[in-house]
Symmetry: C2
Subunit: 450 residues, 2 copies
C-alpha cells in the first residue's frame, strides 16, 4: 500500500518546483483512487495545475470519477467545457452520467450537445432511468459478443477494445442475433479454449440477470448472493442493455446497510448531510408531529397522576431515570433485531430465540439498574419504600422495553411496513408512556408509604 | 432470475415423488446460492435427502458455504464425519475454515485430523489469525505463477487447476523466486498475449496489497477504494500468503456500515442476535451504568426545581415533551453525521455546512413543535404564560439538540474516539439535562405568572 501522506508531500513539492516532467511520471504510476486522494487534500490552485497535467496524460477522467462530491463540484467549476468534453470520453457512460449530474442543468445540456452522439445518447439513456433503478447504474458501453464467433475472433475483438479502454473484462456476454442475452463466458474459459471453438459452445446458459427497472438494491443483493463481479441488465425481451459492476454495487449495499439503522429515528433515506434544508424539513416534519403526538400521550399519562406528584414531588425527580433507561434498553433491542434483518441474518428459528434473549438481557439489566436506583433513592430521600417502588417500576419498564424493542420490527414486517422506519419513535413512545404509567401507577398505590 | 418459489415447489414435488434422477438434473442447473435458498425453506427431512443428492453430484460444499448460520448448524449436525471430510475439500480453505468453526471443538479437530494434511494445514493457518484480521479471510489455496513462466505455461497451469476447481480466476499473482509478490496480470491480458511472452513482461508492478495482520475492515476499504475484485495478502517480507475475494469483503463492508449506526446506542459490534446472554450483559453493563449516571444528572436537575414543580405541578406533565422531542432531534442530527462519516462522505468543507444545516433544521422544527405545544398548553391549562415558557424552552432545547447531535461525532473523532460509539447516550444526556434546566429554569423565573 502506498504511504499516502508521503506521496502527497512529494507531489506538492514537485508542484511548487514546477517539475512537470517528474509529476507526469509520478502520477502515471498511481491508481486513480490515490490521485483522487491527493487532489482532495490540495488547495484549489494546486488541484487546477494537477488536473491540467492529468488532462495531458489522459488520466483526468478516471480520477474525476473517484473524487468525493464536494471536491468534484469545485473541480468541475474550474474546468472549461472543451476540457470536460474530452475528459468525459475517458470514462464509461455510467461514470460520465454521474459527473454530468454534478453540473448545473444548462451546462450539462451544452456539454451533451458537444459529445459524440453515440456517447451522448448512452448518457441520456441513463438519465431517463429513475435514480434508484438498475438502469441508472449500468454501463452501456460494453463489449458485445455473438454466439457464432470463434474464440479467436473474440480475442481479436477484445484486443481492439483494450486499445482504447482500460477497464478490465471478467465476463463475456454472448448475444443471439436478436440481441437477446444467450449466456456468459468467463474470461478464463476463453484463455483455455481452442482458437476455433465457438463462443456458443463455451457459454454458461441461463445467466442470472436483472431488468433495467429493477430497484438497484435488488440488483446489488442479487450480485452479492451469487458472488458475481458483474451483472447483465436486460429489457423485457431479455435483450442486453448494459452491465452493472460490483464496485458500484458495494456503495449501494453499504448505504442500504447503513440506512436501516438510520431510519430507526424517523430519518428518510434521502435526508443526507448535503440535502437542502427545505427537503430535510419536509421529510422530518411528519415524524416530528408523530413524535409530538406520542410525547403528548406520555405527558397525559403524567397528567393523570398530578395529584400524586403534588403530594410526593420526588416522583417527578425520578421520572427521567425510568424513562431514560427504558428508552435506551428498548432502542438497543430494536437495533440488534433491525441490524440482523438488514444483513439478512434472521431465520425463523433464530427470531424467536432472539426475542427471548433480548427479554432476558433486559430483565437482568433492569434488575441491576433497578437495584442501584432503589439504593440511591433510599439513601437520597431516606425513604426505603420509594426505593421499592422505583425498583419495581424500573424492572417492569426495562422488560417491557426489551419486548417492545424486539417485537416492533417483526410486527412492522408482518404489516408489510419497512421494519426500520420510525421503529425508534414507536419504541420510545411505548417505554415513555408505559414507563410513566407503571412508575406513577405503582407510586399512587403506595402513596401512603412514600 | 429464477422464480424461486416455483423452483422450491418443483424441487419439493420431485422429492416427494423420490424422482432422484430428475432432482439431480434440476439441482445441477442451479447456482449454489439458489440451492441454499431451497434448503433453508425445507423441512429437516427434505434437507437431509437433498444434501445426500448434492453429495453425490459433488455440489454439497459450495451449497453449504452459502447456508445461513442456523440452517447450516442444523445441517452439519446431520452429516457424518466421512461425508464432511469429502465435502470440505470441495471448497476453498477460507470457506472450509468457516464451516468447521460452526462445529463443536472436538468434532472440528477430529475432522481436521482426517483431512489431507495440505488442506488441514491451510485451515489451521486461518484459525491462528484473529477473527478481524485480513489473514482470517484469505483463501490460501490459490494458483501460483512465476515471472519467468510463458503465457502458454500459465495457460496450461490454469487448465490443470480448473480440472479440479470451479472458482473463477480474474487476476494472476506473479511471484519471484523468494515467493515475494512481484506484480499482477489481469486474465484478459493473458488472453491477448503471444504464447511465448513471459509473465514478467505482462505484469503490472507495485500491486496494492495488505498485510495478513491488517484489520479486515481496512482490507475491505482498500478493495473498495481501488475497485478490485481480489486483493493479495502478504507477510512482512512481501511474500504472498493468500487472496481475499470481493464477495467476502462485501459482507465486511455492509456490517461495518450497519455498525456505526448501531454503536450510537452503546451497542458493541459483537452484540448480535446470536450472542450469548452473558456476553451481551457484559458488553452492555458499562453503558447501562453510564446511562444511569447521566439519567441521575438529569434527575438532579429536576431535583433542583422541586419547589417550582410543587407550586405548578403542570411543569412535571410537560417535562416528557421537552425531553422527548429534544432527544429525537439530537439523535437525528447525530445519525446524519455518523452515517456520512461511516460512508466516508464528510469532507472538511462539507462538515461545517453540515453542522450549520442541522442547527437550522432543528431551529425550524423547534419553532414548529414549540408553537404547537404552546398552543396546546395554553388551551389545556388556560394559562398563556405557560405556553410562552414552553415555547421558549422547546426552541432552545431543540437548537441545542441539533448542535450537540452534530458536534458530538466531530468531538469524539478529534479525541481519537470512534465517533459512533455511545454518541446517542451522550446526546440524550445533554438534551435531557439541559432541556430540563432550560424548561424548569425559565419556568422558575416566571413562576409568579404561571
Amino acid at each position: 500500500m502506498p504511504a499516502q501522506n508521503a506521496t502527497l508531500d512529494f507531489v506538492r513539492r514537485l508542484l511548487h518546483r514546477e517539475a512537470i516532467g517528474s509529476l507526469k511520471k509520478v502520477l502515471a504510476k498511481l491508481q486513480p483512487a490515490d490521485v483522487s486522494d491527493i487532489l482532495t487534500h490540495c488547495t484549489p490552485g494546486e488541484r487546477h495545475l494537477l488536473i491540467t497535467i492529468l488532462y495531458v496524460t489522459r488520466q483526468a477522467g478516471p480520477v474525476l470519477a473517484e473524487l468525493p462530491d464536494e471536491t468534484l463540484r469545485q473541480t468541475l467549476e474550474g474546468l472549461s467545457n472543451d476540457v470536460l468534453v474530452r475528459v468525459l470520453q475517458e470514462v464509461g457512460a455510467d461514470d460520465g452520467a454521474e459527473l454530468l449530474q454534478k453540473l448545473p442543468k444548462d451546462r450539462c445540456s451544452e456539454i451533451l450537445e458537444r459529445l459524440p452522439s453515440v456517447y451522448a445518447e448512452k448518457i441520456e439513456e441513463i438519465f431517463r432511468y429513475p435514480d434508484d433503478s438498475a438502469g441508472a447504474y449500468m454501463n452501456t458501453l460494453y463489449l458485445q459478443f455473438h454466439y457464432r464467433m470463434t474464440s479467436r475472433e473474440a480475442v481479436d475483438r477484445m484486443r481492439a477494445w483494450f486499445d482504447s479502454h482500460q477497464e478490465p473484462i471478467y465476463t463475456l456476454y454472448v448475444l443471439e442475433e436478436t440481441h437477446r442475452l444467450m449466456g456468459t463466458v468467463a474470461v478464463h474459459k476463453l484463455v483455455l479454449a481452442q482458437p476455433e471453438t465457438l463462443l456458443g459452445d463455451l457459454i454458461d446458459p441461463d445467466p442470472v440477470c436483472v431488468n433495467d427497472t429493477t430497484p438497484v438494491r435488488e440488483a446489488a443483493e442479487t450480485m452479492v448472493k451469487y458472488d458475481y463481479v458483474s451483472l447483465p441488465v436486460v429489457d423485457d425481451q431479455f435483450r442486453l442493455l448494459g452491465i452493472i459492476m460490483v464496485d458500484d454495487m458495494v456503495d449501494v449495499m453499504m448505504e442500504s446497510a447503513a440506512d436501516s439503522a438510520y431510519q430507526i429515528h424517523g430519518l428518510a433515506d434521502e435526508d443526507r448531510l448535503e440535502t437542502p434544508v427545505t427537503t430535510s424539513l419536509r421529510l422530518r416534519l411528519p415524524w416530528m408531529l408523530l413524535n409530538l403526538l406520542t410525547a403528548f400521550i406520555a405527558s397525559s399519562v403524567v397528567g393523570l397522576f398530578e395529584a400524586s406528584i403534588q403530594q410526593v414531588v420526588a416522583l417527578a425527580t425520578f421520572m427521567p431515570i425510568v424513562a431514560g433507561l427504558g428508552g435506551n434498553t428498548g432502542t438497543q433491542a430494536l437495533a440488534v433485531i433491525i441490524r440482523a434483518m438488514a444483513l439478512d441474518e434472521v431465520e425463523a428459528a433464530a427470531a424467536r430465540r432472539g426475542v427471548i434473549k433480548q427479554l432476558l438481557v433486559s430483565l437482568l439489566l433492569g434488575l441491576a439498574a433497578g437495584l442501584i436506583t432503589a439504593l440511591i433513592a433510599w439513601l437520597w430521600r431516606g425513604n426505603p419504600m420509594l426505593g421499592v417502588v422505583i425498583f419495581a417500576a424500573m424492572v417492569l419498564n426495562m422488560v417491557l422495553a426489551g419486548f417492545v424493542g424486539s417485537a416492533v420490527p417483526f410486527l412492522l414486517k408482518r404489516l408489510r411496513q419497512d421494519p426500520a422506519v420510525g421503529g425508534g419513535v414507536l419504541v420510545t413512545a411505548c417505554t415513555d408512556s408505559l414507563g410513566f404509567l407503571g412508575f406513577l401507577g405503582i407510586s399512587t398505590l403506595f402513596l401512603g408509604y412514600l
